[in-house]
């Protein structure tokens, strides 16, 4: 029998243990990410079907008015600045929502887009516009929340029911999402038959785009939801860390599961609903960005969530730039660019993850 006397002298000698408080390392990482994203945003203002010189961009920004007569101002302030802002905030929201869903379901393959949550939100908005006749953002944004919340509940319930047994796989959640998406797609096409005018609205909402007339007005309307959602997510970070150890371990550490789940649901609903209302149904951001962030910062959510927000904004804007350049003078909506790049990356994640074993 091996008797291990506690080496308390080691403990009191203060052997090097990484501090558990938010570290300078973490702050540096965030700062670095912010710098990169700032560069991407600047590029977004300058690049497009017409490339503008930096001085022209700066001048337009400083002049502050679209109607100062210069074409550059019209482009920069009227088009590129709004879409950059929308991309940054919407992408950040989707990335954080993805991280939260992944944390709650302990499933690295979870994504609001793949799971059909964004489809639910966008369908709800199309319903609001075409069936109920609401045209203002303040009106239909509530439908977006309802759609996002309902979609999340349905998919996660199915996924959890499928995963109840010990050897079941988290991939069931993705399939549940595929089923829900297919179902919603069918409902949508039925809807389109009834109201052909909704086809235009549907086209935007179903693909995910930073333009399409949503504009900064909608962004201002949903801004409170975005802010509240983000703040709540940061508060929620430690619960997510506990959940990562399993339901039993989380409860053994004193968490109440039901309030924790409800808070997660509220956060996802707010963030996804707001993001969808602004940029339509966008997939892969919620899936990929948490993985990238985790690869940089590790699994601790107090750094993961802010980092995901920054990277999510940057990735969305970057994809938008690509969409503007690749088929100029036409544009590819962000959703298509992300689908084309995102799918192979998703495959990579599936191949790498040990949970893809079943």
């Amino acid at each position: 029998m091996i008797l291990r006397a506690p080496d308390l002298s080691e403990a009191s000698r203060g052997r090097a243990l990484r501090s558990r408080t938010p570290t300078r390392h973490g702050a540096l990482v965030l700062l670095g990410a912010l710098v990169v994203v700032a560069v991407i945003a600047a590029l977004s203002l300058a690049l497009g079907s017409r490339a503008l010189d930096p001085e022209v961009v700066v001048h337009a920004l400083l002049s502050g008015s679209i109607n100062d007569g210069s074409e550059a101002s019209a482009i920069v302030l009227g088009q590129r600045l709004p879409r950059t802002l929308i991309g940054l905030t919407g992408g950040a929201a989707l990335a954080v929502a993805g991280a939260v869903i992944q944390g709650h379901t302990r499933n690295p393959l979870a994504d609001p887009g793949l799971l059909g949550v964004t489809s639910g939100a966008s369908l709800a908005v199309v319903l609001a516009i075409s069936v109920v006749g609401i045209t203002t953002a303040t009106g239909y944004v509530w439908f977006a929340f309802a759609g996002a919340g309902l979609g999340t509940v349905v998919v996660v319930t199915i996924g959890l029911a499928a995963g109840r047994r010990r050897d079941a796989s988290p991939a069931a959640l993705v399939l549940a999402g595929a089923a829900v998406s297919a179902f919603l797609g069918a409902v949508t096409s039925l809807l389109l038959l009834i109201d052909v005018a909704a086809l235009d609205a549907y086209r935007f909402w179903s693909v995910g785009s930073l333009t399409g007339g949503r504009g900064v007005d909608t962004l201002l309307v949903v801004a409170p939801a975005l802010v509240v959602g983000m703040v709540l997510a940061l508060i929620h970070a430690r619960s997510l860390d506990a959940l990562a150890l399993g339901d039993d371990a989380a409860r053994a550490l004193g968490r109440r599961l039901l309030p924790t789940r409800l808070l997660g649901l509220a956060i996802v609903t707010m963030l996804v609903g707001a993001a969808t209302a602004v940029l339509g149904s966008l997939g892969f951001i919620g899936l990929l960005v948490p993985h990238i962030a985790r690869w940089i910062s590790g699994p601790g959510h107090r750094l993961l969530l802010p980092l995901s927000a920054v990277i999510g904004g940057g990735l969305t804007v970057a994809a938008d730039i690509v969409g503007r350049l690749v088929v100029a003078p036409d544009e590819l909506p962000v959703g298509i660019v992300l689908g084309t790049i995102g799918a192979p990356l998703f495959v990579l994640i599936v191949l790498r993850s040990r949970q893809g074993r079943a």
Binding site: T21, D248, G254, P299
Partner: protein, 280 residues
């Protein structure tokens, strides 16, 4: 009062299936208690009921005379630590990060990381011999080391009691001994009350002061190792004819399985009464 936990006529039912059937039991403090029984007998369910992970359908569990369902989860987590079966953790989590989670019951979301937290983590790592491995990712550790890390997490909670659900089931024999030695040392040094579900009869006999034998959701026998590890009890609980020898080194019973009795007629005490051979 010597009993830390008092189980008063506990039953746990899932739909038609009764996992735990009218168990009344006292689990003594300052002891290592092992719960043994065949697969599906309800031993894990019983432990989960004590751990407050499973609400009993009937009856109540008390901790120091207080009904556990009335104790808020965070308060309970400061008094009882639980190591669940086959625990999972995110891939790149380091040992120290895992152990740090054990401080959650002592911190609200606005609390920063205090010196008390730091000391608790250090001490837990030292007591489980993991100081050198503190910054390594969990997945790079052996099975036994990983279990020790989870035990360190439980230690960081600074509780009086530690509940372990099959802590050795997936480990090689060397790692099994490693884990159980650690648990035993902690019991001696910190006076931890340990209650664990074990699969291996000889290990249970060797490490536990008290043993509870469960069959079909009922207690067949409870007492110290010599009282419970008898051929009669083992026959009734496990459907096996065994010989029980004495291990000279440890002074504890050593179980040598003989003939399987599956499918043959059972002889033995009447099993319709729940506490057939309640030996004290």
């Amino acid at each position: 009062m010597n009993a830390l936990f008092d189980l008063d006529d506990i039953s746990v039912r899932y739909g038609d299936h009764t996992a735990v059937d009218g168990v009344s039991l006292q689990l003594r403090r300052d002891r290592i208690t092992a719960i043994i029984g065949p697969n599906g007998c309800g031993k894990s369910t019983l432990l989960r009921a004590v751990a407050r992970l499973q609400a009993p359908s009937v009856g109540r569990v008390t901790l120091d005379d207080q009904d556990v369902s009335n104790i808020p989860p965070r308060v309970y987590a400061r008094r009882v630590a639980v190591l669940p079966q086959a625990p999972t953790a995110p891939e790149s989590l380091t040992v120290a990060d895992l152990v740090a989670r054990g401080r959650d019951p002592h911190r609200r979301w606005w609390d920063g990381w205090s010196q008390a937290d730091e000391d608790a983590v250090r001490e837990s790592l030292a007591q489980t011999g993991l100081m050198d491995l503190a910054e390594r990712p969990l997945e790079s550790l052996s099975g036994g080391q990983r279990q020790r890390a989870w035990i360190a997490l439980a230690l960081a909670q600074r509780t009086d009691a530690l509940l372990l659900d099959e802590p050795t089931t997936y480990l090689d024999i060397a790692h099994q001994l490693d884990v159980l030695d650690t648990v035993q040392n902690l019991h001696h040094e910190r006076g931890l009350t340990v209650i664990m579900v074990l699969h291996d009869l000889s290990l249970a006999a060797r490490y536990a002061d008290e043993i509870v034998a469960i069959r079909d959701g009922r207690v067949v026998a409870a007492g110290n190792a010599h009282e419970v590890m008898t051929p009669d009890v083992l026959r009734e609980v496990f459907d096996v004819d065994c010989r029980v020898l004495l291990d000279d080194d440890t002074g504890r019973p050593l179980v040598v399985p003989g003939v399987s009795l599956i499918g043959r007629k059972m002889t033995g005490p009447d099993r319709s009464t729940p506490e057939a051979t309640h030996v004290r």
